[in-house]
């Protein structure tokens, strides 16, 4: 019995550290709607700075002072980030801020290694909480007891802050309806900045408090960020109590789950999230999001098919790309194939995100399923390459059909997180089912047949399929189905009123996107000659998101440019420097500031503004559009 009590308390201690970080993320998201990918980076910075301070100043005051000061220092960094970077892009398309915070995360990962060196650092134990307390023959670390108390204390302070101060009232109001708060004359700028500071402070505090039990190292951020997102979503976005309950739920299920299934930790949080979201689409304590008050057709320039001149230009670009084997070497051709494959992958996600308005955080699942589909068919069934390429993506189709059915019942960030959960479940199956998938050692020897083996042939194959994918998706965008999909995206109520079955339309779009992603994965398997669980991992899903956002969400084919720029740059930087993350991150941050609508999106609006001013028609429309923005 004593054992179960102690296991329960241990779970509570894990929950406390998770809650600190999660509450910060939840507050930030609730008010600013920023999916703050850099939250883990702030957590890590908190730990590193606290390490330095506590090593420098010994004693109880030095330790506890060091922890608090570290959290404050990071909070100031957070304020700077908010003021210098995020303020510029609040009006960018939804999720664009994710791109900025992703760039920051990349930079911080390299910066901490530059400052603190590559080795794992182990900080001091907390003065006064070094030992353990005996509980009927079981030891409970006294620091765990401290954390168990701290969790509810922080919860209480936050509750008081939100219920009893004017600032808290404003924050709650903004969480519920920030447009209304702005209309009532509240200075949103400082409200956002202060909320961001509080959130970052909590993240850094959570990181700093890990010193006595963890090692401080440069991968801490990624280790926590996904779990924290999951906790926030299970609890319900913007709900502090929800975050607390979810942290306890996840930690306790893990603590007791490993007694029965020792391998469950790897997937547990995602299983819980998938179940919770299917049963309660807004998390445990979340409320349905108020319908967005955005003007239908906010997209400033209504989409239109290419003019014949533009078609010619695209054709010319394609012809030039086709000529690459005449002057490029084998390496250039292989890189070209890889870029073409990522163009396919990015346009498939772009189709879902821009046309369908459904941002998937787990799109790599269908890419990976396509790749595994090919690997199974080629290695186990021994089918010829053409057949594999045609049938392999069907695994992506099946996956998208099954998961998409559940996912499209949700919307916004909940949709994104459910797709993430499904992707992680698929990933862990590939990772765990060693007998079939080879586990993390993957499936080797999936090389193309002779006719496609030479780099130039494979390049032409990839390029051809990429061009085909872009064209087909464009045709779909401007087909009646595409219009129905955009109608569902822009105004669910009105589209329903005119008789569009929104869920079915979205589901179909999800399946189309999944299948195209599967096609990209199938080609990728042949390009690399092998398949690994990596091919469906979170980082690949994030890469795809970055490509789409970089190109511009509010464009028809911006993802093509996003994929080319991001992938080419990534490959080049990794090859040229060991600090590729720092440079790439800085580049992304610069792009975000220079092109607040993505590369293509910003270019588009510049061109159309010129066009408008030259023909000088309807200043009224322009001004109306700007108010809408």
């Amino acid at each position: 019995m004593a054992f179960y009590v102690v296991q329960f308390l241990t779970g509570l201690a894990s929950a406390a550290s998770l809650f600190l970080v999660a509450s910060g993320l939840s507050i930030i998201f609730g008010v600013t709607r920023i999916v703050n990918f850099a939250h883990g980076a702030f957590y890590m910075l908190g730990a590193y700075i606290a390490f330095t301070l506590t090593e420098r100043f010994s004693g109880a005051l030095g330790f506890w002072g060091g922890i608090v000061v570290a959290a404050l220092v990071v909070a100031i960094v957070g304020v700077l980030v908010e003021m210098v970077l995020l303020r510029r892009i609040y009006h960018s398309p939804e999720l664009f801020q994710l791109l900025a915070t992703f760039g920051l995360t990349l930079m911080v990962q390299d910066i901490v290694v530059l400052i603190w060196g590559p080795s794992d650092l182990v900080g001091r134990r907390a003065p006064g909480f070094k030992g353990a307390v005996d509980f009927f023959g079981q030891n409970i670390p006294s620091y765990d007891l401290f954390l168990i108390v701290l969790g509810p204390v922080v919860l209480g302070i936050l509750w008081l802050l939100f219920q009893r101060t004017r600032w808290g009232i404003l924050v709650r109001a903004a969480t519920q309806d920030r447009d209304m708060v702005a209309a009532l004359g509240v200075n949103q700028k400082w409200l956002f900045t202060s909320v961001f500071a509080v959130g970052v402070f909590l993240a850094a505090l959570g990181g700093a408090l890990q010193i006595p039990r963890d090692a401080v190292h440069h991968a801490m951020d990624l280790r926590i960020i996904v779990d924290v997102f999951v906790v926030v979503v299970i609890g319900g976005l913007g709900s502090i109590i929800g975050a607390f309950v979810a942290a306890v739920l996840v930690s306790e299920l893990n603590a007791f789950g490993i007694l029965v299934f020792p391998k469950i930790s790897i997937i547990l949080v995602f299983l819980v999230m998938a179940v919770v979201l299917i049963v309660r689409p807004w998390g445990l304590f979340g409320k349905p999001e108020a319908p967005a008050r955005r003007t239908p057709g906010l997209t400033v320039n209504p989409w239109r098919p290419w003019t014949s001149n533009e078609r010619l230009a695209a054709l010319a670009a394609l012809i030039v790309a086709t000529a690459l084997p005449l002057f490029g070497g084998n390496y250039a051709l292989t890189v070209g194939s890889e870029i073409a494959i990522f163009v396919i992958f990015a346009v498939s996600l772009h189709f879902l995100m821009s046309v369908g308005g459904l941002a998937s955080f787990g799109h790599a699942a269908y890419f990976g399923l396509g790749a595994y589909g090919v690997a199974f068919l080629a290695k186990l069934a021994g089918l010829p390459m053409i057949v594999c390429l045609l049938l392999g993506p069907l695994l992506g189709l099946v996956g998208a059909a099954v998961f998409g059915f559940f996912a499209v019942q949700l919307s916004g960030v909940y949709f994104a997180m459910l797709t993430l959960a499904f992707a992680q479940i698929v990933w862990s199956i590939a990772f765990q089912w060693v007998a079939v998938t080879g586990g993390d050692n993957g499936i080797l020897g999936v090389w193309p047949e002779k006719w496609a083996a030479s780099p130039s042939h494979f390049y032409w194959l990839s390029l051809g399929i990429a061009a085909l994918a872009v064209i087909v998706l464009r045709i779909i965008v401007f087909s009646p189905f595409g219009f129905a999909l955009r109608a569902t995206r822009d105004s669910p109520l009105r589209s329903e009123a005119v008789g569009i079955n929104g869920k079915r339309i979205q589901w179909t779009a999800f399946v189309i996107a999944g299948t195209v992603a599967g096609l990209a994965g199938a080609l990728f398997a042949y390009l690399k000659g092998s398949v690994f669980p990596d091919n469906m991992g979170i980082s690949l899903s994030v890469d795809a998101l970055v490509m789409v956002l970089l190109g511009g969400v509010e464009t028809v084919s911006g993802a093509v440019v996003g994929a080319i720029v991001y992938k080419a740059l990534n490959i080049w930087l990794v090859s040229q420097t060991d600090w590729s993350k720092l440079v790439l991150g800085a580049f992304i941050v610069l792009i975000v500031v220079a092109f607040p609508k993505g590369i293509v999106g910003t270019l588009d609006s510049i061109i159309s503004r010129r066009r408008k001013s030259s023909s000088s028609n309807s200043p009224l429309l322009t001004s109306r559009v700007e108010t809408a923005e």
Binding site: D214, H217, A314, L444, K528, F532
Partner: protein, 399 residues
């Protein structure tokens, strides 16, 4: 669409720069490792091979030609490692590939080498598959494999009186196969042993408190640990506070390597049986020479990564010198059965499975001046801990 042009232009530019750098009086080795993902291991590793390159060129290079190592980061991803391998082979025209740390990356590059018929000397990946079940004629491996390290530990572990064993290992191929081999070899030597619990925390994400509690609840007499890095730190701290290691024997993979032992500082648990690298206690002339040169160049002590990096390039140079050619078939012929000296004594690249006989040190952890050290350590030759030829013939596919 039109931006294909930019991508193409960029790629051509890269290829062009590489071509210009070609020179006749050089021999190039293409090296790939997880520099950005695992700097704790790969920084000392890089220093190790840099020292080797310097020594080789000071001694006249490879049959009079200058040795150049072109090093690439793999981002910790198999797919990126293949892109790097492709660049090294297609644009840099390297004579051979070398390096890699993670098992899945090692396997991806080895499959690439097999497909493109390029010589590959795997430095660090521990998986048995790379030389056995997925072995191929183009791939050789330097470090003692999972099996060999398990066999070394089993030798010491079997002498323990403990009968009830529990295991803690990261939940991926390395952890799984380490536990599987250890269990198999251990149960062969000690049929009386029972395995009472196993814990599989996800790599890099151990929730140490509940894991330690769960293991303690099974009340084992001895524990096998396979976690390393940050997970090990968390496990040790929770285990120390909760008294998990008190009066229990612990056998642990890799924990004696300075990369993993040094961060533990004064929390180093005492008396664990570990594999590792006690650089302060090795008094052979080969090692003293290496240590002196390393400390003189870098003003730092070597980690195990330094040895691996140093020996990878030293072995590669010996192979290239003996083959006196960059033809992969001649390189393979030169490597099979080749003996080279190393800081750990002479090692041989076996013909039968392309595994080197580099060994490892087995000893016990101890605390000295607030730091973790390995004591009572002794060198275990790799050749003594490999299965018989007949068994390997069964494990390894025919070329």
């Amino acid at each position: 669409m039109r931006n294909y042009l930019i991508g193409a232009g960029l790629a051509v530019l890269v290829a062009g720069m590489a071509d210009a750098a070609m020179a006749q009086s050089e021999i190039k080795i293409g090296e790939i490792n997880s520099y950005s993902l695992l700097p704790a291991f790969t920084e000392p590793y890089r220093k190790g091979w840099q020292l080797a390159v310097e020594e080789i060129n000071a001694a006249g290079g490879i049959n009079g030609k200058k040795l150049v190592v072109i090093s690439k980061d793999d981002n910790g991803k198999p797919a990126d490692a293949q892109t790097a391998a492709n660049e090294l082979v297609s644009s840099e025209n390297v004579a051979m590939l070398a390096g890699t740390f993670l098992s899945n990356i090692g396997l991806a590059v080895s499959d690439f080498a097999n497909q493109k018929k390029v010589f590959f000397l795997a430095a660090e990946p521990l998986t048995d598959a790379i030389t056995w079940s997925k072995g191929n004629r183009y791939t050789f491996r330097l470090r003692p494999s999972n099996y060999m390290q398990a066999a070394m530990l089993v030798e010491a572990a079997a002498k323990l009186p403990a009968k009830r064993w529990a295991t803690i290992a990261p939940n991926y191929e390395y952890g799984q196969s380490a536990v599987a081999v250890f269990k198999k070899l251990m149960s062969e030597k000690r049929p009386d042993i029972v395995w009472v619990d196993e814990q599989w925390p996800p790599q890099g994400k151990i929730d140490a408190g509940p894991v330690v509690q769960a293991v303690a609840a099974a009340n084992p007499e001895a524990i096998l640990n396979v976690t390393f890095g940050a997970d090990l730190v968390k496990l040790v701290r929770e285990g120390n506070t909760r008294g998990l290691f008190k009066d229990r024997a612990v056998v642990s993979f890799l924990t004696g390597e300075p990369e993993y032992l040094d961060p533990l500082k004064d929390e180093t648990p005492e008396g664990w049986i570990v594999t590792g690298y006690p650089w302060y206690a090795i008094k052979t002339p080969e090692h003293e020479a290496f240590l002196k040169a390393y400390q003189a160049k870098f003003k730092d002590y070597p980690r195990l990564g330094s040895i691996v990096g140093y020996q990878t390039i030293k072995s590669a140079a010996a192979i290239l010198t003996k083959a006196n050619s960059t033809d992969p078939e001649k390189l393979i012929a030169a490597t099979e059965g080749l003996s080279v000296s190393s800081p750990f004594g002479e090692i041989t690249f076996r013909k039968i499975d392309h595994q080197s006989t580099l060994g490892a040190y087995v000893g016990k952890t101890a605390l000295k001046d607030g730091k973790g050290v390995m004591v009572e350590s002794s060198y275990k030759k790799g050749s003594d801990y490999l299965p018989g030829d007949a068994e390997i013939e069964k494990l390894r596919p025919k070329d």
